[in-house]
Symmetry: D2
Subunit: 478 residues, 4 copies
Amino acid sequence: MITSQQYRERLKRLKSNVFIDGELVDRGDSRMQGEINTLAITYDMAEDPSLEGITTATSHLTGEKINRFCHIHQNSEDMLARQKMTRHYCTHTWGCILRCMGCDALNALSVVTHEADQKYGTEYNARFLKYLKWFQENDLVAAAAQTDVKGDRSKRPHQQADPDLYLHVVSRGEDGIVVRGAKCSVTMVSHADEILVMPTRAFVEGEEDYAVSFALPADHEGVSLITRAASPRARQQLKAPIAELGSTDSVVVFDDVFVPWDRVFLCGEKELGGRLAVLFALYHRHSYTGCKPAVSDIIMGATALVAEYNGVERADHIRHKLADMIGVAELVYSTGIAGAVMGQKSSSGTYIPDVVYVNVGRRHAGENVYHESDILADISGGMSATLPPEGDFFNEKTGPYLEKYMMRNPNIPAEYQHRCFRFISDIICSSFGAVWQIAGIHGGGSPIMETIAILGNYDLEAKKDVARYLAGIPKKKS
Amino acid sequence: MITSQQYRERLKRLKSNVFIDGELVDRGDSRMQGEINTLAITYDMAEDPSLEGITTATSHLTGEKINRFCHIHQNSEDMLARQKMTRHYCTHTWGCILRCMGCDALNALSVVTHEADQKYGTEYNARFLKYLKWFQENDLVAAAAQTDVKGDRSKRPHQQADPDLYLHVVSRGEDGIVVRGAKCSVTMVSHADEILVMPTRAFVEGEEDYAVSFALPADHEGVSLITRAASPRARQQLKAPIAELGSTDSVVVFDDVFVPWDRVFLCGEKELGGRLAVLFALYHRHSYTGCKPAVSDIIMGATALVAEYNGVERADHIRHKLADMIGVAELVYSTGIAGAVMGQKSSSGTYIPDVVYVNVGRRHAGENVYHESDILADISGGMSATLPPEGDFFNEKTGPYLEKYMMRNPNIPAEYQHRCFRFISDIICSSFGAVWQIAGIHGGGSPIMETIAILGNYDLEAKKDVARYLAGIPKKKS
Amino acid sequence: MITSQQYRERLKRLKSNVFIDGELVDRGDSRMQGEINTLAITYDMAEDPSLEGITTATSHLTGEKINRFCHIHQNSEDMLARQKMTRHYCTHTWGCILRCMGCDALNALSVVTHEADQKYGTEYNARFLKYLKWFQENDLVAAAAQTDVKGDRSKRPHQQADPDLYLHVVSRGEDGIVVRGAKCSVTMVSHADEILVMPTRAFVEGEEDYAVSFALPADHEGVSLITRAASPRARQQLKAPIAELGSTDSVVVFDDVFVPWDRVFLCGEKELGGRLAVLFALYHRHSYTGCKPAVSDIIMGATALVAEYNGVERADHIRHKLADMIGVAELVYSTGIAGAVMGQKSSSGTYIPDVVYVNVGRRHAGENVYHESDILADISGGMSATLPPEGDFFNEKTGPYLEKYMMRNPNIPAEYQHRCFRFISDIICSSFGAVWQIAGIHGGGSPIMETIAILGNYDLEAKKDVARYLAGIPKKKS
Amino acid sequence: MITSQQYRERLKRLKSNVFIDGELVDRGDSRMQGEINTLAITYDMAEDPSLEGITTATSHLTGEKINRFCHIHQNSEDMLARQKMTRHYCTHTWGCILRCMGCDALNALSVVTHEADQKYGTEYNARFLKYLKWFQENDLVAAAAQTDVKGDRSKRPHQQADPDLYLHVVSRGEDGIVVRGAKCSVTMVSHADEILVMPTRAFVEGEEDYAVSFALPADHEGVSLITRAASPRARQQLKAPIAELGSTDSVVVFDDVFVPWDRVFLCGEKELGGRLAVLFALYHRHSYTGCKPAVSDIIMGATALVAEYNGVERADHIRHKLADMIGVAELVYSTGIAGAVMGQKSSSGTYIPDVVYVNVGRRHAGENVYHESDILADISGGMSATLPPEGDFFNEKTGPYLEKYMMRNPNIPAEYQHRCFRFISDIICSSFGAVWQIAGIHGGGSPIMETIAILGNYDLEAKKDVARYLAGIPKKKS
């Protein structure tokens, strides 16, 4: 395991391929500093002895202690520990720790490379395990690039006017393959060491070139990261942990990029493209059963705090809304526990969480994101939107005015009151906050995707048989 | 373990103390036959080898195989098995198997009698275990009588105009105690062997006489059961399992009833009255994480079936509503799993489920009862309310009319179509169905009670600390 | 105008063609008495001078004072008066006054017969106005029979295996036509004087025979009414207005029935079949903006009353739920006002309410039916489901027990408490109550039908132009 | 009436008293330019002949044509025209036209000054009408400053540690009064000509000094505006109307400010302080029945547009969500119509909208704000949060990449696609958009305030009588 300082140093050695607002920028660009700070926490907390076994795990490859973000689930307990870790991290980082996707992609690959080998006699799994060992030893950060730009949504990949609208193999050579396309909405890739490319959907005959998965260094030749950085409003004097955080999302363009064979983990096995897409999503949705409750923790914490500051904490209707928020958090967390406990071992030995519980949970989370913001906005009042800028609190004339008129409960210093509103303004009245609302819906797959996953995996015919039995109608002959 | 036939015989030996609509009636009264049929299933399925270990358990007292309804949870697996059993039973019995309450009361007593002994040096636990052994050996059915009539809800027990509005000890003697009061909304007591009386709330100084718990035979001297029986509409020719079921609720009046000491399990320890009330509710709410998903199973099964019959099964908006129903069922079931897995061993050795997960689950179930009926009513159409009575389908003139005009999908016989609507009419358009809607809200405690339980057990201050940390506000000094 | 006594007498003169549960019964059968009582109110209140101009109107044909249920809307004020009248009646009759459908059908026919004449040179309108004059003079009650049984819902009328699954013309003769088919879910037809048959949908080429509308006496040769009667549970001693009410729904079979030409109002004009279907639905949905708020009035009244009796009337969470109920009632009522005020005069002179407001209102009502029951069930507690039968309150032994233990607020007599719960039990825990829940969804068209009507009539392209303007995208060329 | 150019010129003559982020700035500061642009529209559209009678009115004082924003409602038609005007303006200005508050305050003052004179023999009304005439002649813009900072919310004004936490009269002199305090969340005051100060609540004995209302020029001596400006992200090349808009909110500090008597409209009549507060809120909530449907128009337009661009416009679940949005818009709009039509004439001749309909509508709007954003976020997908900054679309290397990969429907130019997402990003993923979400809850009073207003004005006892009647319980003796 490395330190956060080593991670920061390593980032500096990456070649420039990040663009922001039309400029080629350094990975250390101030607009993106918050993301580096966030990722650094995953190194710092891995050194915290009180979190041993939660933030760390024992590699099944080497027996060494590794960062849990580099670990492959060996049993239900691993999944429970991962869920617990995620919630812990995310209460310190405004709801996203950024490093999950890579871990989820590794787990999915550990399963599907093995299944491919069993089915086709390929050697993906050995190749993947070698890559994994190196990944674990170097304590790497990986971004998962899955979402193709997809063009016309009413057409399949091979029907698009431009075949590049889904990433695909352009040519195969002795040393490797060449790929072209773009992945969008790729979070954190501008500070990842590695990019793990996943297919975005299932494929049919004639779409073999789209069934491809591979790993590349984030600054690989031909790869461009077109990046949108988001952070809370910068603070001048009123420093706070929230203000040090941040994240990025990128369109990742692969402009005829060469990938050596030892980094290719699927290439043309179209039956397994969809399997890999779905399995990555499933692991990632299980991650959401950890992070989304943390988002709820933060929002309900802010709500309870502002209710205390406003002196309405004991009012029934406030308390019932807090109970609603607890409900959302713990229903979702429960599905992660159930998903872990009812998980199954795959042929590779990797554990897979239960698909129904996890999707039901992720869906419930996604459907309540805006509802939670609504409650916080409702209870905190209009001040979260109309709070004067920080400078006014420190101007000679207006500072004393605001100090005087900001007071509510005389036992709570004006500064705390100010900090509380500025914090709430960051989470529900800023571009940064809105990014995470939208991510709360779409990250890991939108509610409609979970609806599809649920309906595809649930035995509704068995439920009809329950009805048929009670109604005295014979079962269908199968 | 006994057979259902033995149970039916045993019932006949009970003395008459059941009143229906102003008459003293026999326990075998035809209006209550459905309840006996329902309870009989708990004996029949305990003999089914494929359910071994689910419907049965091994007594920790005797090592004998017993009906799981007589068992005390020894570990998380017991709670998981109980939850699974409950869902299984309840899909066969329109959502309630009726025998849970007794089991939940026994579990709560196994914990609290032990805690009382530890705190006060009493001997309740040994007395209880002796009772339990006898209970297990005879494979008894117990009703739990908890809900006092409560009089003026803005006043405490000892402040009521009439002190009997909460059941209480009238006198204590050498051989036992005398109690007076009434418990209402007591389900299934008219076919129970035993009544387990639980306190309904916490008590304060001066309310010692209300902190009482005991067991009595259901036909004990001085006990009257004023009963409301509910069943689906009787069928003449179109027999179906749903039509054989039923249930009862009673006001149980204790008119200066004598209880011998060996059946008294709490008497005056006011600090533990509330503990017993809450713990019984907790076990019972965990039962609901099994039965309420079964209710959802039935309703979603009926919805999917009628959607198939109406030819709209593939429509998006129908499927999304089915996914909503799956969501309700599996979110609630997840909380039961999480509650079991995260449960704790009490000082008595009995396992207790986690209070937050279970209450969050029960609350979510209660809040969705009417929503599920709404979906079924919506998708099944008006026919569930306007279906002609059964006789019209067999009358010489109208029968052929209805046969002709009932047809929808030509591949589905008119009789199935008819059975399907009659079944749906039983569940959403009958007095019997409505009883279970209301029970779905209030049984085991209404959503407001779970809200109180959640808020009372959840560490909201820790969540405020999450907000304080991110906002840069120091923790409160404790 | 006639008296209710005259109406009752007139009913007795109708020939027997009503079947209940396999028997041919008299219209005065005790199971259907509640419906007659309900309809009688429309005659009694029309004599109430304080309701003059609300329950009555001035015929535009004769200038005579007539029952408003026989009136054709001449302006927005008529529609406002009708809405007000409906709400008033329905608070006295558990949410449905039963006589609206006929009035709505008459209004729709007054428009469409005129449009047919304009388009095809037919003489329907004069024929209809003659019928209407006779109808007004005799102060008749008409049922509207619209909903065909519809067979396989994925097929059109002319594609059904059995062509009779939609009612259609079998033959045309000099004196009239012969029709065959069945209409289902026809409310109140068993106590109507007249049946007004309406088409159920739009038609295409080849479906001319389905585009038919006509009037028949309710006991006409060849017409059979297969009827389901619903009433609150009968009372022995605790008489109350709710217990005197009732309603029926029938499958109306037309077995080669002859209709003379002077009672035929549409026959083969397929373009206007859909128009008539939709317009009848629109008028009927406007009626719902009056009756559904009355249902809300009753349910919120019951909720507020039981909250008072339980002593929780001032609790915040109770009051907020009452505000929710007020919200549902008055949002829906507002749409009726807006629909009336923004209504338009048709070519016939009859006023038509605005289609968007009315459908938005009816949809909102339909989506909240179960929600309102949920609130009442929640606040009234379990007793609405477990209340002992009436007889137990008057039995020598159990009567005093219940009298004693029913007490809550000492200032409220046990009888009122009892009456309150029995009333609530009638509305949310009875077959009768459930019929009206389901009617609350489907009567006048289910929410999905209103969704279709809204989307079909709303100018979404104009809203896209709003977005395009702000975004700087040019309008589409049309 | 003046032109927008004249308005812009007039603004320049105001003295500097606006602070932003610690600096004293000019009213023309670039950060606030969007607000001026928005207000200018109210002058431009008043000159549009096609909007004559909508954006203009005839003064009841002078008979001259005036801007409707300066008009006092003389009848229901005025209120209907005002509602229509507001919706029209607000579809052009991202949901707020900014100039309503002043108009609403003028209407409230026209009523309450008259009532004060009737009750106390004061001369406020004549004074107010003189002010109004001058206001109309100069076509002024007024901000209404109502919300006091309020300090400890569990205490009344006179109980606060600092008496200034509610604005109050410090001294009364021959020429006028001196006031001290601060009003917060005052929208648009930095570009108003006049500030109309309203009380924020009802008062009790001893709080006479808080019952004060007056008008001041926005740059009056002693008045400081501490301002937060909000705008969509600035555009470099992709100009669009949305990007030219903006708004401000200010804390307005009154530091011992002198107000001459001819600008004082209430001073010490504590019984009327609450009346004025409530009446202003009522007028303002009626304004919301115009602007909130416009917000819905914009959001549903954006949703329908992006659904078209994504090729999913015909999907059932998309269309049903659009119908939900239409439902919100038109339910709220209906309450405004009903409120206008059912409005009442006050003693002053000014019309007042119905309090129940208007509050029910405003509450429904407030409860659905986040729900509407949720639908747009759901249907537009993650791109609204992860769209690269504008510069990347015009960079030599990344521009062509984005042009290529942004394509969806080949018939829709990449620029439109880009504009569509950038627009959506402005409305749901920006600080500016979030300001209006929060304003959508709290502007004009939060849902809890409307709940209180509804419960305070609704005759629930009459609804209980409805229940009592049906249940056979006599009415309460009053």
